[in-house]
């Protein structure tokens, strides 16, 4: 949060003035800047160059011009993975915000065992996706999974959670909400605790009921947090890889192939490095575009 807050403000450090120059500063930032250049900036440029080449593991790279791009336009798998990523992102971000806001409001009242509740929500956040996937593969299992066992207690027929192309992606979203919503709860809780209680008390004295206090006092004050969290969750949701890799292999029928999963597959299963680099470049541009649009929305509706 500090991070996005600072990016929004663009706060400079101690101002660099003309009269005082301390070149020793370059020495301090050198390792970090080298790391950034070699493993951050350079690969971004290399991606663009690589996407103009036909390069597989066995043959030497040859210049291919826009061949990769032409392939991309007609590539069903790419378009499907883009669609899946967007669906995953929308299905994930909105419920995650709603659920965690509700939970944070409840937690913000003075409750006993607060430490226990908080820990219970945070532990999935710091758990790895691999551990989570081992557990959820069993929970979702058609034959012996816990979910279908619970359904059968209610005399509901078993659900093919990961085996049906119409619901597999949503199943992954459910798991992602379980794993990550504790994080959003934490952010909302911090924001709620920053709202001076005088505001709500004053409104209550004026005769506002609980819903009115929330609607007209709390919610507007939470808007900046909400938008910043939305940006962050969106960027993260675009990174979905471990879930489809470990739980569905992008299937059934490509229904859970995400963008990152397709980059992995083109690059490290088919060894088509040039094409994988093109998909990565397109993804870079899309993420930038989505972030810029969201920032604009934030500016207009909050500031």
């Amino acid at each position: 949060m500090q991070l996005l807050g600072a990016m929004k403000r663009g706060r400079p450090g101690i101002r660099a003035t003309a009269e005082k120059n301390e070149p020793i500063g370059y020495l301090f930032i050198l390792p970090q800047v080298l790391g950034f250049l070699v493993f951050g900036a350079l690969p971004l440029i290399a991606n663009v160059v690589l996407s103009l080449y036909k390069w597989s593991a066995l043959t030497p790279p040859t210049f291919a011009g826009l061949k990769n791009f032409e392939k991309l336009i007609g590539d069903q798998v790419f378009w499907r993975s883009l669609q899946n990523t967007i669906v995953y992102s929308v299905e994930y971000v909105l419920p995650c915000l709603v659920v965690s806001l509700a939970l944070a409001i409840v937690l913000n009242q003075r409750v006993r065992f607060m430490a226990f509740f908080r820990s219970a929500y945070y532990i999935p956040v710091i758990t790895s996706y691999v551990v989570a996937a081992v557990i959820w593969n069993w929970l979702f299992d058609y034959n012996i999974g816990l979910f279908n066992q619970l359904l059968s207690l209610l005399h509901i027929p078993p659900v093919p959670w990961l085996l049906d192309s119409r619901i597999a992606l949503s199943s992954l979203v459910v798991m992602a909400i379980w794993k990550n919503s504790g994080y959003t709860v934490l952010i909302y809780l911090a924001a709620l605790q920053n709202i001076p209680s005088e505001f709500q008390e004053a409104a209550a004295i004026d005769g506002a009921n609980r819903w009115q206090v929330f609607r007209h006092i709390t919610w507007p004050l939470l808007l900046p947090t909400t938008f910043l969290v939305a940006v962050m969750l969106t960027i993260w949701s675009w990174q979905a890889f471990a879930q489809p890799y470990l739980m569905t292999r992008g299937g059934p029928a490509r229904s859970t192939t995400t963008l990152v999963y397709s980059i992995y597959e083109y690059g490290f299963v088919f060894y088509d490095f040039g094409y994988a680099a093109l998909v990565a470049t397109v993804m870079t541009l899309l993420v930038f575009a989505v972030t810029l649009v969201q920032r604009r929305v934030i500016r207009q509706s909050v500031l």
Partner: protein
């Protein structure tokens, strides 16, 4: 009366959700203690009838899990140490020194932070394989030995310290490195610890990158190794034992370092 009902409702909601969050882990532990017959039994039993450590001994005896754990410790520990060093050095430069282009360099790096790291995997992999570093620890130490996010947090922490400290130390004849090491760094201790924990956790939990740059069974990290694990001796509980094994260090770290972890999460420390 209404107040009481309200109170009860709050605890029911919070308790119900907390239990929902935690139950999958209880089930994991429970399943890891069952032999095949009981594992697939219907209905599921939260407490095994005949708990057994067979799955754990199969795991330790028939997989390289100890080696994977060692790899993960070296990789996570090594990158955490490198990161706090490079980030605190850079944080000092960005927050407390004035030099041409400083803010431009800083914000150029911040721009990169908006991008998911996965988009640069192809060039990074090709570069590492040219340098013959794929499948070595260096494939982790080099790219993750520096971190823009850690630098950002270090800089933020160092910006809050008044400049008088530096000036006083300078009067006493201290050089810049001395001021960094003995004046500023000790004052940023909490941030330093938060960064170390999060750098460690991020690497410990990472799957995508480790999957691509480790290739032999011997070099796998714990997460990648766990992902390649198949039921040993036909016992599906082995996977649950592996998950429990990989989960425990995270849990211990959380329970012992809760304050720092919550603080780090609030700063936006962990990538979902």
């Amino acid at each position: 009366m209404r107040r009481l009902l309200n109170r009860i409702l709050v605890y029911v909601i919070l308790g119900g959700l907390a239990v929902t969050m935690v139950l999958p882990f209880v089930a994991m532990l429970s399943q890891s203690l069952k032999i095949t017959g009981e594992y697939i039994e219907y209905p599921f039993k939260w407490i095994p009838d005949k708990p057994t450590l067979d799955n754990y001994s199969l795991l330790l005896g028939n997989s390289k899990i100890l080696r994977w754990t060692l790899n993960s410790l070296v990789i996570s520990g090594g990158t955490a140490i490198l990161q706090v060093i490079t980030a605190s050095l850079a944080g000092y430069g960005f927050a407390r020194k004035r030099f041409r282009g400083r803010d431009a360099i800083f914000w150029a790096m911040m721009l990169q932070l908006m991008l998911p790291t996965q988009v640069t995997i192809i060039p990074i992999f090709l570069m590492l394989s040219k340098l013959k570093l794929v499948n070595t620890y260096w494939a982790f130490f080099l790219p993750f030995g520096t971190s823009i996010f850690s630098t950002f947090l270090m800089r933020q922490a160092m910006l809050t310290i008044p400049m008088e400290y530096d000036e006083a130390a300078k009067m006493d004849g201290a050089n810049d490195f001395h001021i960094y090491r003995h004046v500023i760094l000790p004052m940023c201790r909490p941030t330093f610890i938060v960064l170390a924990i999060f750098a460690f956790l991020a690497q410990w939990n990472d799957f995508f990158y480790a999957l691509i740059v480790t290739q032999s069974d011997k070099m796998r990290t714990l997460q990648v190794g766990l992902a390649t694990l198949q039921p040993i001796g036909g016992s599906p509980g082995v996977l649950m034992a592996g998950a429990t094994f990989a989960f425990m260090p995270t849990l211990v770290l959380y329970l012992t370092q809760q304050r720092y972890i919550v603080e780090g999460l609030q700063a936006g420390g962990l990538k979902g």
